[in-house]
């Protein structure tokens, strides 16, 4: 019985002896397999490159978290919200959702919709979360060092590691991670302070700024804030607002005389008088305000970039909440805000920073499971990934068509080869070759074509990738973008193995018919065709 090793050796010899035919067959296999392999490598690489880009821009590593206003409220009783009329189910559901939320808003009244410091601490424990930056924001008065006058300013907490803020520094440097007494000054405030030319801006860097803020006596601040909001909406006049404040003050004093339930009274006290004494009694309305002074050193000046060129820039500006006149460490902002009793748990949203955009999905799901409302770039990321996935299938289809055409070409060439080699097969049969031997010989030739073709395809793909990466690296050098040259094509071991499998299967399949014809040849007839 013929040994498998001899069959392989004979098959290899046959391929070598018919070099032109072998090369033509290999060409189709190499083209098809190269396209397949590069497609798989690109699909894997582009997916990773997107994460690299997103990670580099911090965009996709940040999740904006706020309380989930609607889902925390009870649903309306069945039958309360009915959307009538002839319309599609999708449209009916959309309208119903909005009406339900409106109903919840109307029914709920004022709710505690802030994130507390305790909840922020919980967020830090979520896996893959590296930092949690609360959107600390407070008002203060700044002593102008030029003329000793005071001016109203706003302070915002920022992440000292934020690349976006770092890129906005136009003089001096970004906040030092460890220097908590540093601040960044917006160029508008610097202008208002009298620092206008570039050299004057550099003069401001290193100077000390003293601010003053109140930590008590703001009992009615929330009411006034609401009134201010109403006045912006064509609400009551200033006289009406003042009258309302007096009336509301009286109402608070006489709250126990009303027919409101204890729960309702507690809710009003909580909303309007968050500054509670140790015994739970309301603080005195005439409690004097305590003014705190704090001195910071200016480390840099930031531009007030309002022209967001990309969606991600816009998101980042929003995420970083960096529109204060003075930007300081977010921990310091939190510390200062915590000194104001009614604002110590008053964070409408926080930025959660994850270690990689790859973990954005899992962290987002964890946060949603905590009943929080979550905004992130996940949807954009998912859309991109889906687009890549679709493109991959298109290109894979083209590669498959090329391979199919190659398979037909190989089959055709092998059929012709069998015809040409008929006398040879006749001789082999005459000296004792069995049907099985010739069948295996032809299939081995096909398999060897597949293995050689796949090996060449791997080599060609790898070389193409190297050349492409070199060009891309040269093109990207000097540009302020992440270097993707080593990322765009990622060859996976499974893909390389799969290419070998696909090539061998296709070539063996293409050899089946010619092999069967060779095996069934009548030796006498075959030898006569000399």
């Amino acid at each position: 019985m013929m040994r498998i090793l001899d069959i392989f050796a004979m098959a290899l010899g046959n391929l070598w002896q018919r070099k032109l035919r072998t090369c033509l067959n290999l060409l189709g296999i190499v083209i098809g397999c190269t396209v397949l392999l590069l497609t798989a490598a690109a699909a894997s690489g582009v997916g990773k490159a997107i994460h690299v880009l997103f990670d580099a821009s911090e965009f996709a590593k940040e999740i904006r978290v706020s309380p989930d206003y609607y889902s925390s409220l009870p649903d309306p009783p069945p039958g309360t919200i009915v959307v009538e009329g002839e319309m599609s189910d999708e449209r009916r559901e959309r309208i119903r959702e909005v009406l339900v939320n409106q109903w919840k808003m109307e029914q709920s009244g004022v709710q505690d919709w802030q994130i507390s410091l305790a909840e922020i601490e919980e967020l830090k424990q979520v896996p893959h979360v590296v930092r949690v930056v609360p959107n600390g924001f407070l008002d203060a008065r700044l002593n102008n060092p030029q003329d000793n006058t005071e001016m109203e300013i706003s302070l915002a907490g920022v992440d000292a590691a934020s690349r976006v803020i770092t890129e906005r520094v136009i003089a001096g440097s970004m906040l030092d991670e460890n220097a908590r007494d540093q601040v960044l000054v917006s160029e508008v405030l610097a202008y208002q302070l009298g620092f206008r030319s570039d050299s004057e801006l550099h003069e401001l860097v290193g100077r000390e700024l003293t601010i003053t803020y109140q930590v008590g006596g703001q009992k009615y601040s929330r009411i006034y804030e609401n009134l201010k909001f109403l006045s912006q909406q064509d609400g009551p006049s200033l006289a009406d607002q003042a009258a309302f404040a007096v009336t509301f003050s009286q109402l608070l004093d006489d709250l126990d005389k009303t027919s409101l339930t204890e729960e309702q009274k507690e809710m009003i006290r909580r909303v309007t008088q968050p500054d509670r004494g140790n015994n739970g009694a309301p603080a005195q309305k005439d409690e004097p305000a305590i003014e705190v002074q704090r001195t910071f050193q200016v480390c840099g000046i930031v531009n007030s970039d309002q022209n967001h060129q990309t969606i991600s820039d816009m998101f980042l500006m929003w995420f970083h909440g960096s529109h204060g006149d003075l930007l300081l460490h977010h921990e310091v902002a939190v510390e200062m805000q915590s000194q104001i009793p009614e604002r110590k748990d008053d964070y409408y949203n926080v930025a959660v920073i994850v270690d990689s955009s790859r973990n954005l999905k899992s962290v987002t799901e964890d946060l949603k499971a905590k009943g929080l409302d979550v905004d992130s770039a996940l949807m954009i990321l998912d859309n991109l990934q889906r687009g890549i996935e679709r493109s991959r299938w298109y290109v894979l289809s083209i590669a498959a068509a090329i391979l199919l055409a190659s398979a037909l070409g190989i089959s055709n060439t092998l059929v012709i080869s069998v015809l040409q080699r008929t006398p040879e097969f006749g001789i082999l049969k005459a000296v004792g070759a069995r049907d099985r031997d010739l069948l295996l010989l032809m299939l081995c030739e096909g398999a060897l074509l597949g293995v050689i073709g796949a090996t060449l395809a791997v080599a060609v793909s790898w070389l193409s990738a190297k050349v492409g990466q070199t060009f891309l690296a040269r093109h990207l050098s000097g540009q302020n973008v992440a270097d993707l040259s080593g990322q765009l094509l990622q060859f996976q071991l499974w893909a390389v193995m799969a290419i070998y499998g696909v090539a061998v299967v296709i070539c063996v399949a293409a050899s089946l018919l010619p092999a069967w014809r060779a095996a069934r040849l009548d030796p006498v007839v075959a030898m006569r065709r000399d």
Binding site: M1, M2, D6, E424, G426, L428, A430, G432, A433, D435
Partner: protein, 223 residues
Amino acid sequence: MIQADQLAKTYGYAGHSIPAVSDVTLSVQPGERVAIVGKSGSGKSTLLNLLAGLDRPTSGTLTVGGQRLDQMGRNEMARYRCRHVGLVFQSFQLLPQSSAQKNVELPLILAGMSQRERQQQSRQWLERVGLGNRSEHLPYALSGGEQQRVAIARALVHQPPLLLADEPTGNLDSATARQIEQLIMELCAETAATFFLVTHDEQLAARCSTRRFRMTDGSLAEW
């Protein structure tokens, strides 16, 4: 060695039956040298193909070395050819892309012999047919006589008990033909193989055989 009883082979062509071998009864003892003489188309090559296991009889029985060829399947026939038969053809039938040595090795490869052993044996046989120094030559680089020597070495390298030759000198000049004829006789005597010669040359048949048959229109008669 060979026992044929009422052996017949008929070919079908365009709805007609064409008898090639009719009612052949033959008995050959081991070591005998038999020659069949006949004109072209008389059926002598068909009979040789039947004996070689290359073709299957339409009727009758054929036993070679105790094996019923008429009852064998395709694989058994192939095994029979591989182990029991050596074939020498008029047109040599060498693999054109393989060296002389590879051609000689062929029956040993098909028999599953190890590379080292078969290379050794094939070299010995090439030496025996006088082509020890031409082992790496391709057939086109050899003369007709040399190609036939390679074919003879290939036919005998696996030491078959039956050597079948179909016009082995038909494509050779007379001097070379005599050399080949002598070589075959020497090797047959050496290996004690039963020799079955098919030729139209009565003188060759007379020189190479101990028994002679004449084939006419598919029928065999001893003379």
